[in-house]
């Protein structure tokens, strides 16, 4: 871990000024991913801005019947919130499927969205990785790829996004609120937050330099049956091989987002039109253009079968 200076800020303005005056600064909240990566010098900030004092730790109703979740709300608190459990069960379920009780107590809403891939070649600093060291190549391609992306990947990167929570946020059409160092604020639809790797896998989101997530807003509840199904070898405390988050209405229509298969939460709205026709039809559309490796081709049938199980469960 490289040396860094540390400051705790108590206002968004102070955070903005801190990030502007330090060229290699990073915000830290829960720290569960950032410190992990700093120990390996995959992340090397020279200044840490502790934003835990900014007060973004509330879950409040919005005027149009939704909920605004503060960026600093911990994963445990979010999953346990009575309104989330009642109206956005998918989100609660996805959060509880992730990590461990200890990690969820620390990890924040914004940090969860911004966590980086768990690709083992990304984590091994002896190996080339375009994400870690742009232009160095991708050791995962042609290597051990059972966990890797099957769709939306590129010749530069086949990593997946590891978040469970983000799958639910994507299915729920969440919006991310941010503040930029210049004081401007903006809304980013969750679909536009994460990027596909393309030629620049080191650029993982559409956030700009120094931009801080302040909250995530959920639109008003859409009802339906909420199911999050995470498939993994180990029964708990493991990243998904594949996960399916779905909201299914009584008439069979609904939404589906899939985790564990791409560089971002994978949702194809057009595929959802097929939901009344069953999992096979949805999966065919959802996974169009997939290019798996020999080791991870199973994920395609796994998505279809898991979705089938989810749709069956939703029927009750």
């Amino acid at each position: 871990m490289k040396s860094f200076t540390y400051e705790k800020v108590s206002s968004p303005a102070a955070a903005a000024s801190a990030v502007v005056s330090n060229s290699n600064a990073k915000f830290i909240a829960g720290g569960t991913n950032l410190l992990d990566l700093m120990k390996l010098e995959i992340e090397t900030p020279s200044h840490l801005i502790d934003v835990n004092g900014l007060g973004f730790d509330k879950i409040e109703p919005t005027s149009d019947g939704g909920l605004r979740i503060g960026a600093l709300v911990r994963n445990t608190a979010l999953a346990a919130d009575a309104r989330i459990r009642r109206d956005y069960g998918l989100l609660s379920r996805a959060l509880l499927a992730g990590a461990s009780g200890q990690l969820r107590n620390k990890a924040t809403t914004a940090g969860n969205l911004l966590q980086r891939t768990r690709c083992p070649y990304f984590y091994d600093t002896n190996q080339p990785c375009n994400k870690r060291n742009p232009g160095s190549g991708c050791a995962a391609i042609g290597g051990v790829t059972r966990q890797h992306a099957v769709i939306g990947a590129s010749d530069a990167c086949i990593a997946t996004h590891p978040s469970d929570m983000a799958i639910a946020m994507r299915a729920l059409d969440a919006t991310v609120q941010t503040a930029r160092p210049d004081g401007s604020i903006r809304d980013i639809p969750i679909a536009d937050l994460h990027r596909l790797p393309g030629d620049t896998p080191h650029i993982e989101t559409t956030l700009t330099s120094g931009e801080l997530i302040t909250s995530v807003t959920l639109p008003k509840p859409v009802g339906g049956t909420h199911i999050y199904r995470k498939v993994r070898d180990r029964a708990s405390y493991a990243f998904a091989l594949v996960s399916v988050g779905a909201i299914v209405q009584r008439d069979g229509t609904g939404r589906v987002a899939v985790g564990g298969i791409a560089h971002k939460p994978w949702r194809v709205e057009a595929a959802e039109a097929e939901m009344p026709h069953g999992a096979k039809a949805v999966a065919a559309h959802l996974l169009e253009g997939a290019s798996p490796t020999k080791e991870n081709a199973f994920k395609l049938s796994l998505v279809e079968r898991t979705l089938g199980a989810v749709l069956t469960e939703a029927k009750g």
Binding site: Y6, K8, T76, A80, R86, L96, S100, L103
Partner: protein, 169 residues
């Protein structure tokens, strides 16, 4: 370097630390409270679990300087060999450990898990999200899954926690 002061096991401790020092290393290397273990240093094993402000966390993935004014409870603060906490005594009685290295983390986690269930926090295996979670074997096992025991004492640990929970209820 930075200074930080927090309460550990009821005692206020002021430290001057490299900012890079994790809470885990502050406890082990600076306060010599080595009951909290370093198993992986990356949040992948749970051996470093401590209770901060009533909540269990991995002390390896948090900086000491981020805990100004907070209250930390480690395994040493739960009990002593002569006066064990009920959870510690139950682990001994049910042989809920072997090598002992994950044990402090398991015990800190177990103590917090019972509070989490009491507080109505759901888990991955909770059937009805809108009902209070129950203290079942399946619930305990899911909630304890962030604490790896390679010696494989899980079955005995579940019995130890169940006994303490029963005594409480």
């Amino acid at each position: 370097m930075a200074t930080v002061s927090f309460s550990v096991n009821g005692e206020v401790r002021a430290l001057k630390l490299d900012t890079r020092t994790t809470l885990l290393d502050a406890l082990r290397e600076h306060l010599h409270l080595t009951g909290t273990k370093k198993g992986c240093d990356h949040g992948q094993c749970g051996a470093c679990t401590v209770i901060v402000g009533g909540q269990r966390i991995n002390s390896c993935l948090t900086l000491a300087v981020m805990h100004e004014g907070e209250t930390v409870t480690t395994i040493e603060g739960l009990g002593t060999p002569e006066h064990m906490h009920p959870m510690q005594a139950a682990f001994v009685k049910h042989d809920g450990f072997q090598c002992g290295y994950c044990t402090p983390g398991q015990i800190c986690s177990a103590v917090a898990v019972l509070d989490e269930i009491k507080a109505g926090i759901p888990s991955h295996v909770t059937g009805d999200l809108n009902a209070a979670p129950q203290l079942t074997n399946t619930e305990l096992r899911e909630r304890m899954s962030g604490n790896i025991c390679r010696c494989g004492a899980y079955s005995n640990i579940a019995e130890a926690i169940t006994e303490v929970a029963g005594r409480r209820a």
